[in-house]
């Protein structure tokens, strides 16, 4: 029996466990399709979102907030320097935020630089067009992925942590292993480890829904239809702040995710997300 046939998910019960070096079927098509769609969508959402932030680079808590009110976060700059003001902290960001040079070599004092935004020049209307077009691509396939992943038991089988995995000792061990870049090998590498499960569940069922809900909470139209959005978020300006914080958490997830892919073997990892097939790392002899 080949490794491939052995690992096909259609088989009713799991045949004998594969070993290091075997090619196993790891990601089904809905997961792969959604992954690559999001690889595009989330970047467009993040970058057009940063452009929208640039239109008013201040964040507040509560129901209202404008220039004469006190922000908890503010990004700005002048001819000499750029800075990010976080509460009472004043962090210099010259050359990066609030003080950067555009492609023509002109100094700009907008918060996020052109290379991080869509469009790359100041264009709030354009950024909103991108943001609300891709919002549909985030929302509709996201809901479909949720439904399919419950139906094909991806959530229950692959993502839901097992009781023993949630033991603090197990989680701590996994954190130590990650920190030492000691990744699972052989059959153990076929399944997600607990940190993967928790971060994927967190992104799929917490961060992405929060993005959608806080996004809708900023809509004056939706506020009329669903006033509970404002109760849930603590007001429109709080919703805007949470929207930004969660976007940064998603960005942090992507950074860690990409680093882990590189460390775990980028070719094998990327292939598994394209074809579904993943070669189990060989056990250390």
């Amino acid at each position: 029996m080949t490794a491939d046939a052995q690992a096909e998910p259609s088989a009713g019960e799991r045949p004998p466990a594969p070993a290091g070096g075997d090619l196993v079927y790891r990601h089904r098509w809905p997961t792969r399709l959604w992954h690559w769609l999001n690889a595009l969508t989330v970047f467009v959402m993040l970058m057009s979102g940063l452009m929208i932030f640039n239109a008013h680079p201040r964040l507040y808590w509560g129901k209202y907030g404008a220039n004469r009110d006190t922000p908890w976060l503010q990004i700005g700059g002048d001819r000499e320097r750029g800075h990010l003001v976080l509460g009472s902290l004043d962090i210099p960001t010259t050359g990066l935020l609030g003080h950067w040079y555009d492609r023509n070599g002109n100094l700009q004092n907008r918060a996020f630089p052109g290379w991080a935004t869509i469009p790359s020049h100041y264009d709030l209307a354009g950024a909103r067009s991108w943001h609300f077009l891709f919002a549909w691509l985030l929302f509709v396939p996201g809901v479909l992925f949720w439904m399919i992943s419950f139906l094909n038991r991806h959530v229950q089988r692959d993502l839901a942590p097992k009781r023993e995995e949630l033991a603090p000792r197990h989680i701590w061990q996994d954190i130590k292993d990650h920190a030492r870049l000691r990744f699972p090998r052989g059959v153990k590498a076929r399944d997600y480890n607990i940190l993967q499960k928790l971060s994927y569940l967190g992104v799929i069922f917490l961060l992405l829904p929060l993005m959608v809900l806080t996004g809708l909470a900023m809509s004056p139209g939706m506020n009329a239809a669903w006033p509970w959005l404002l109760d849930l978020t603590g007001g429109r300006q709080s919703a805007r702040s949470i929207h930004f914080i969660v976007a940064m958490l998603i960005l942090a997830f992507i950074v860690v995710h990409l680093v882990m892919v590189v460390l775990a073997g980028p070719i094998n990892e990327i292939r598994s997300m394209i074809t579904g097939r993943y070669r189990l790392p060989r056990e250390k002899s």
């Binding site: 469009p119 264009d123 209307a125 991108w130 004056p220 239809a225 669903w226």
Partner: protein, 251 residues
């Protein structure tokens, strides 16, 4: 900026630049515009589906009001006619209600103030992202439109304003669902005082379920039309014409 750019940085910047200018270029194509237009349409239809036509925007208590309600956009129209009216306290100024109506109106400000008024403490959301909460008093637009008698062909209400940007007059337009909404008022009072010039004296539209740029200030004329194509550059409002802002600003 000082410091040498390493080859790796150059590569990153180069690749990033390619991707970005790619996005910029895609954003300008006719194909993207039509996809994006379809998405805007979908957004409006989806919102109209979940927002009952009579659903009210949240109203707040006096304790929730912004200590300072900032102004923005034009804060002082330049037209000599407007300045003359301002000088005389709008004593012989008239609001024109015309277009596809049976009985065009020309209403003095005193008459408008004597009509039944609605007062609402609502949140003003700028497309830029800031919000301010203030108290507005004015005449429901529905009363004026009923008084003038809309003809059946009328589909949109256009607000012609006294202010301009580089010679382009400000205007905005809404559909009849919003025009007849109970919170849609032409406000003549703000925070218990006469509407200040910076906020659009003598009259400003309040359209509480959409963003600030829809809420035309310095309203001089209310026109009922069947089509927006003939007005301005045809996109339904000054910012829609000038910078591609969305006509439906419910999000």
């Amino acid at each position: 900026m000082t410091g040498k750019i390493t080859r790796r940085q150059a590569l990153v910047i180069g690749t990033g630049g390619l991707l970005l200018s790619g996005c910029d270029r895609i954003g300008r194509t006719a194909a993207f515009r039509s996809v994006e237009g379809a998405a805007q349409d979908l957004t409006m239809k989806a919102q109209r589906l979940v927002i009952d036509r009579a659903a009210l925007a949240p109203e707040f208590s006096p304790a929730d009001m912004s200590p300072v309600f900032r102004t923005n956009g034009n804060v002082m129209p330049r037209s000599p006619a407007y300045l003359a009216h301002l000088e005389s306290g709008f004593a012989d100024w008239r609001l024109i209600v015309d277009g596809l109506v049976r009985r065009p109106l020309a209403l003095p400000l005193a008459r408008i103030r004597s009509l039944p008024a609605r007062t609402q403490i609502t949140r003003h959301d700028c497309v830029e992202g800031w919000s301010a909460i203030g108290k507005w008093t004015g005449v429901p637009l529905k009363l004026l439109l009923d008084g003038a008698g809309l003809r059946p062909e009328a589909r949109y209400i256009v607000f012609h304003c006294a202010d301009d940007f580089r010679g382009q007059p400000y205007y905005e337009s809404i559909d009849l669902i919003d025009a007849f909404h109970p919170q849609t008022i032409l406000a003549w009072g703000m925070n218990d005082l006469p509407l200040p010039v910076g906020h659009g004296a003598p009259l400003r539209l309040r359209l509480e379920r959409q963003l600030g740029y829809k809420m035309a200030k310095f309203v001089m004329r209310v026109e009922a039309v069947d089509d927006l194509a003939r007005i301005g550059r045809g996109m339904g409002g000054y910012w829609e014409d000038a910078a591609g802002y969305q006509w439906y600003a419910g999000i």
